[in-house]
């Protein structure tokens, strides 16, 4: 019991397939992930490694062709996968909220920002003008000038970066227990990115929420997050406290990502460094380790045997895990 309540979110053995014409695409496989209360967990990984799929499962708004083939997703002690739709709906926008990837399409194009921000407060008993005031305050917080009159405008009257900040304002307005952010700073310039990161930190400490933060920007992860999860082709290959993982990465994939000097991460890597080779076909997976084809340290057993998850530091309070044969010795 005590263990479950320490984590806002606790995912176990989660696997998700997409039905496609080439057969089932195994987008997520046996994912284990905990988000402790009040912590910020970052997720990194190349495009297509299943980050958005993971999120869609947490909010239970998955694509029509998606199927959860195994696992549990416990949120505040209850399994979201077996929860009633009514209960789920009561959590959304209250206990958890989300900033989606692709800011230009996340807002309704024919309704004003004000209507959309007021509508999501429909559970509150306050008057409409109070709700508008609150939305204007939120917009001011994310750095939208003249927020009160901006509420009457439509999404297309804002730039991509502004739309992204509006999405963030909406998510924060809910004051959730878990905030999920899918690459929330991609459309922002560096100064704004810093502002938003500071704001997220501030919010995190003032309302004590947990954040699941997805980014390609290793520097931002290092700056913002307590924990980091490294994903590769639908699997988690390494996870642990940011300080440990970034200082002494164990998985060859993480090592490649961090190959540049860790001290200069913050400046140099707005985008994930590219690694030669391609992600394996998720409809036709190799027998052994998923990373073998691109691994510079592979051995004979990597081709045949799936590696197991190992704790790198025995006994430490903050666990550092890696899924690699090299570490099992």
């Amino acid at each position: 019991m005590s263990k479950a309540t320490d984590n806002v979110l606790s995912i176990r053995n989660l696997s998700i397939d997409y039905a496609t014409q080439e057969g089932s695409l195994k987008a997520l496989r046996n994912v284990d992930l905990d988000i402790p209360k009040g912590q910020i967990v970052g997720v990194v990984g190349e495009s297509g490694c299943g980050k958005s799929t993971l999120i869609s499962s947490i909010i239970q708004l998955m694509a029509n062709n998606a199927k959860t083939t195994s696992g549990t997703v416990f949120f505040e002690g209850e399994d979201l996968l077996t929860m009633s739709p009514t209960k789920l709906k009561s959590l959304r926008g209250q206990r958890m909220s989300i900033v989606f990837q692709d800011p230009m399409s996340t807002l309704n194009p024919v309704l004003t920002i004000g209507k959309q921000m007021v509508d999501i407060q429909y559970r509150d008993k306050r008057s409409k003008s109070q709700k508008r005031q609150r939305s204007a305050d939120m917009l001011a917080q994310v750095g939208i000038p003249d927020p009160a009159s901006r509420l009457n405008q439509y999404p297309h009257e804002f730039s991509g970066g502004m739309q992204q900040r509006i999405s963030i304002a909406m998510a924060l307005q809910a004051q959730p227990a878990l905030l999920i952010a899918d690459e929330p700073t991609t459309a922002l310039d560096a100064t704004l990115e810093v502002q938003i990161i500071d704001m997220l930190k501030e919010l995190q400490s003032s309302i004590g929420c947990s954040i699941l933060f997805i980014s390609h920007h290793l520097g931002v992860i290092a700056e913002l997050c307590n924990q980091v999860v490294v994903m590769y082709a639908g699997e988690i290959v390494e996870q642990g406290p940011v300080s440990r993982v970034f200082k002494s990465p164990k998985h060859p994939y993480t090592q490649k990502l961090l190959e540049c000097d860790p001290a200069s991460i913050a400046k140099k890597t707005r985008n994930l460094p590219t690694i030669e080779g391609e992600i394996p076909n998720l409809s036709d997976l190799p027998a052994g380790c998923i990373f073998t084809s691109r691994c510079h340290k592979k051995t004979a057993q990597c081709e045949e045997l799936k590696p197991k998850r190992h704790a790198v530091t025995q006994g430490a309070t903050e666990k550092h895990f890696v899924t690699c044969h090299l570490e099992s010795l």
Partner: protein
């Protein structure tokens, strides 16, 4: 906005000029001298020449067209050569019947077709969706004049539920309504099917868009998501289609008015063509064309009102 109106009006003018010119050409291609046919077999050459001059048929076609538009600018549509009444008076006397007919047909089709399409989209692949799909396609494929003939036979002649011919007593509202039912159904029924398919398709598309996922991610009630967030976007294509569809509605009205012997623009066009009463043909076709031009402009304006992105680009 001003530029939009200017564009719209000039486009409308081009369409009208084009339609009128085409009609002049067609009239001249139809075999037989209009004046001779009008006057009957016993007309003397002098009478024919006199009538030709009166109708302006003795002048070159370009001259006739120019004169037509010249008169039009003064609000003069010419004179009916048979009754000697102004064409404008005749056409505008008949126009309300057709407008009522088309209006009730399309409004009825919208009231049934749009909710049907919404419901089908939201209950996709249920038996209801499949059933309404079959019915809709059946409705679309039924031509107005066939529906008109059969509904006339079944509901007017056989069951005697509705009157068969005419538009009802002027001033008697209920009589007029009961005369309107069958013709309106004959025109509207294919639109029920068409609109329901169209709304279903666009609703499905909109419901799959990212912003709907956002609305859901905030737990908004399903009714808010569907009727406030999705429907507004889903009806945009429908509005356009109805605006352009005014042309089809007018031609469907023509057949239906003939079958039900209902007064109206369609019947007027038909009668005046058979009697070679060309000034009346010209006048009624002109008015129909203007109605079409106006309705496409109105549908654009409605879309602009619904969608701020269109509004800004006007």
């Amino acid at each position: 906005m001003f530029i939009y109106l200017l564009k719209r009006v000039s486009l409308g003018l081009v369409i009208v000029v084009f339609a009128v010119t085409l009609l002049f050409c067609m009239i001249h291609l139809v075999p037989g001298d209009p004046a001779r046919i009008l006057l009957g077999p016993r007309a003397t050459p002098e009478m024919i020449a006199h009538l030709s001059a009166q109708m302006g048929l003795d002048q070159p076609m370009a001259m006739q067209i120019l004169k037509f538009f010249g008169n039009l600018l003064r609000g003069d549509l010419g004179m009916d050569v048979i009754t000697n009444r102004p064409v404008a008076e005749i056409v505008f006397g008949q126009l309300p019947y057709t407008l009522w007919l088309i209006g009730s047909a399309i409004v009825g089709a919208m009231l049934i077709g749009i909710p049907l399409g919404c419901y089908s989209a939201l209950h996709r692949n249920t038996w209801f969706d499949r059933f309404s799909g079959i019915i809709s396609v059946a409705c679309i494929t039924a031509p107005a004049f066939v529906v008109a003939l059969y509904s006339l036979l079944i509901f007017a002649v056989w069951l005697k539920w509705f009157p068969a011919v005419g538009a009802g007593e002027p001033g008697d509202f209920f009589d007029q309504i009961s005369h309107l039912v069958l013709p309106a159904i004959a025109i509207g029924i294919s639109w029920v099917g068409y609109l329901s398919r169209l709304v279903r398709a666009s609703m499905l598309e909109v419901m799959g868009e990212n912003h709907i996922r956002t609305a859901r991610a905030y737990g908004l009630p399903e009714n808010t998501v569907v009727y406030q967030y999705a429907l507004k976007l889903a009806v945009l294509p429908t509005v356009t289609v109805i605006g352009v569809g005014m042309g089809f509605l007018l031609s469907a009205a023509l057949f239906t008015e003939i079958v039900f012997s209902r007064p109206g623009i369609g019947k007027l066009i038909f009668d005046s063509i058979t009697t070679r009463n060309y000034p009346v043909v010209m006048g009624s076709v002109l008015v129909s064309t203007i109605i079409f031009v106006i309705s496409t402009a109105v549908s654009d304006l409605i879309n602009a009102w619904l969608d701020p992105r269109i509004r800004n680009s006007l």
